[in-house]
Each structure stands twice: as C-alpha cells, then as structure tokens.
C-alpha cells in the first residue's frame, strides 16, 4: 500500500485544475498545489488580500515585501495580474467568481458540510479568517487533508462533529488514500484510490459510506 504523500496529493489536485480557472488556495497544504501547476497552464491564483494572478515565490533577488499572499508569504505577480482592496477581493469570492477554492479540513460530511475552523463549540476564540466566505462563495470547493487524524479518527464522516465552516458546499476531497467526490443525494463517491489502497481499507478509515460509480 502506497498512500499519497502530501506532495502527491497536491500534484493530484493540481492535475485536475484546467487552464483558465480562477483559484483560491487556503493556507497550508492547499497552497502547495500551485507549485504543481506548470506556468504555461494559465491558472489565475487569487488571494484574499487582493492579489489576482499570483505567481510563484520570488527568488532572493526579487523579493518584494509589499507583495504577500493570504498566508503572509512573499509571492510574485504574473503578467496580467492586478490588485484590488479587501472588499472588492471578497466581492469576487462571495459573488461566485472564483472557479475553485481548495481548503484544508478537520472533517467533511457526506452531505458536503465542511468543518475546518474550530475544534469545539467551547472554543470561543477560533480564527475563521476567510474560510466561511470561501466555503460559501466559491463555485467549487475542494478539500485536501489527511484521511484520518493523527490518532486515527476518520475525517470523512456522516455528519460533522466540529462546528461547521460551510454547509453542503464541498465537491471533492483529496486525501492520502484517494480522491472522493461528494455527490448530492449519494455522498462520497470514490474517484481514485492511492496505489495498493483497497476500497475496503479506505472504507475502514472512513465514518461515512464510500460509494463506487
């Protein structure tokens, strides 16, 4: 059994992004997806802080501390890129103009619910950032995350236990075990499994039914 490495997960997600899409990548694992999209496949990466058309991280000689992404890392602007302010940036996000958003997740439910911002109802100071805006506003929402928590609990679930970020909007989940579509009325549908990972094994690591077809 060869579960996908993080880099392989990111590459797998990247390979599913066609040219021309406007894409917002969450902080952490999602950000790595951009590294796997070749520059000649023109994908427009948008960042909440108003950068449209981000390019790769600059080399030392071209660092520009005024140009950062939502993760506060220095980035570059591609030819054709532009800047907007926060309200215009989120108008773009909330108005359905982002073709795809990829976020990390604590849990994804078979109805497409996402929990990724607070680990308990009692945590009164969780950091939500732009996750709820992206979760509700993007045309497509993919989640990239390990299939289970570090202590082995499933993260694909029949119902989220953690507080929700967005309701019913996840379309696909990339994990170390495979790729799973979230289909309205059906639930998780296996699209691909990592080499050597059987459906039975993936199911045993999930707390929701995995469908085929």
């Amino acid at each position: 059994m060869q579960p996908f490495s993080r880099s392989q997960m990111a590459a797998r997600a990247a390979s599913d992004i066609p040219e021309g899409w406007v894409v917002n990548l969450g902080i952490g694992m999602p950000t790595a997806i951009a590294d796997h999209v070749p520059l000649d496949r023109e994908v427009i990466f948008q960042s909440e802080n108003g950068v449209i058309g981000m390019g790769p991280a600059p080399d030392k000689a071209h660092e520009n501390p005024w140009l950062i992404n939502a993760g506060k890392a220095m980035v570059t602007l591609r030819p054709g890129g532009s800047y907007v302010h926060h309200s215009d940036s989120f108008a773009m996000i909330r108005g359905g103009h982002i073709d795809l958003c990829v976020l990390g997740g604590f849990e994804v439910a078979e109805n497409g619910d996402l929990a990724n911002w607070a680990t308990s109802e009692n945590d009164s100071a969780p950091a939500v950032g732009g996750a709820m805006d992206l979760g509700a506003g993007a045309k497509r929402l993919w989640v990239i995350m390990d299939h289970t928590t570090k202590d082995g609990r499933p993260k694909l679930v029949d119902q989220c236990g953690y507080p929700l970020t967005a309701l019913g909007t996840v379309n696909r989940v990339y994990t170390n075990l495979g790729v799973f579509d979230v289909v309205k009325g059906t639930g998780f549908v296996v699209r691909d499994l990592a080499p050597g990972v059987t459906l039975e094994y993936a199911q045993s690591q999930s707390a929701a039914k995995l469908h085929t077809t």
Partner: protein, 226 residues
C-alpha cells in the same frame, strides 16, 4: 493560454438567448458599447430585459433595439430625456414594461449581484413612490427600504484598453456603470479601443480584473459622440 479576445462580432455575441437580461454600460455616450449594441441588434435575441441608465435616444443603439420590438422591459433611472422618442411611443402604447430605479440604487443592486449580496437596505427612495411594494425597516431611528440584487445574463460594456486575460482599464469618466455591470453578469462582453500585450497594463490601474470578463472585442470607436 487564456485568450478572451474574439475576432468577430458574431463570436462576441454567440449564445445570447431570447429572454435574457442584458446590462448596457455607459453614461451618456461615454463608456457606451455602441458597436456591441449594434451587434446585439444583428444577432437577433428578443424578449430582452435591458438595464441601462437611460432608455435610449434617437433611433440608434438601444432605441433601435426597442424600436425593433426586441425589448420586453427596461430598467433604468432616467427614461425620459431629450430624444427618447422610441421609448415614449412604445411605453405609451403599452408595449414596453418599465422599472424606474434611482441611479445609485441601480448601481448598488448590480454591485450586490456581483458581490453575493441578495438584498440590502438603503435610505434612497424611502417614503417615496419608488418604495411602494418594498419592505421598509428602521435602523437607528432612520427609515430604509430593502432592495434586491440585480443579476444579469449578459453585460455589454466598453473600456479603453484590455489584454488577453480580459483585464480592463478605462479612460476618464468612462468607468461609470461598466465595472459594476461586468461583476453582475454571467457573460460579460467588452468592447475596447486598444489591446495591449499581457503584462503591459499597469496592475495598479486595472479597474476590472479579467476574472469578470468573458470576451473582448477590439473596436476602433474613436471619441464618444457629444
């Protein structure tokens, strides 16, 4: 390679359906996509709801489209102006539906559509004839009315310069309704005077990011008519 630049008017107009809601940019003739309106006349879509600041003048452009019986309804702030003869006649004959919207509310309703806001409250029009049938509500002792967003199928807009990503730069007072209309429509078609290589438009001057633009057609329009 992303390339939103189309080579012909037919390509620019492709797929506009009967029954569409069409936003038409410009204020006066500045920023008005004259060529695209002609293209729409040629293209043939009918039963349209048109949204523009005015209801057309003379017998050209929007007025011509109306005269041809292709417009079912017009949503605007200023229907009657010098030369709005076609509107006057059709409206009097009961052949045209009209929705009058205060100019700022018109712009904001389109911005809301583009920004994912289905409805918002405004003081504009509260207590007037234009508040009829609208929900009223008090906030902090002042009266407001609820206005719904105004999404559209198509936006026809004009800009000064574009690149193949569809980024747009305007000239002087040429912005007006164009950037908000670009946000509010599913299919945004821009008529531009100039096309620059990707990367030549100053990122700090781009007002409409290409994200909002689907097709760009270069038209050497010259100066707006007075």
């Amino acid at each position: 390679m992303i390339n939103k630049i189309v080579q012909s008017m037919a390509e620019a107009m492709e797929g506009i359906k009967d029954g569409s809601t069409v936003l038409i940019g410009g204020f006066g003739s500045v920023g008005q996509p004259d060529a695209l309106i002609e293209g729409l006349i040629e293209q043939g879509a009918k039963d349209l709801t048109c949204v523009a600041n005015n209801a057309g003048t003379g017998h050209v452009g929007l007025a011509r489209l109306m005269e041809l019986g292709r417009v079912r309804k017009i949503i605007c702030s200023f229907p009657r102006s010098a030369g709005s003869v076609v509107f006057e006649e059709l409206y009097k004959a009961g052949k045209l539906e009209l929705e009058i919207v205060p100019q700022g509310t018109l712009a904001e309703r389109m911005r809301a559509a583009g920004a994912g806001i289905p409805a918002f409250y405004t003081a504009t029009g509260a207590g007037t004839l234009l508040a009829r049938g609208k929900e009223a509500r008090e906030f902090d002792g002042r009266d407001y009315i609820l206005e719904k967003s105004l999404p559209a199928d198509v936006a026809l807009i004009e800009a000064w310069e574009a690149d193949r990503w569809g980024n747009l730069i305007y000239k002087d007072s040429g912005r007006n309704f164009n950037p908000v209309m670009a946000m509010a429509a599913t299919l945004t078609i821009a008529q531009v005077q100039n096309i620059g290589e990707l990367g030549t438009l100053d990122p700090e001057k781009i007002v409409t990011p290409g994200v909002y633009v689907n097709r760009v057609l270069r038209v050497d329009r010259g100066a707006p008519w007075a």
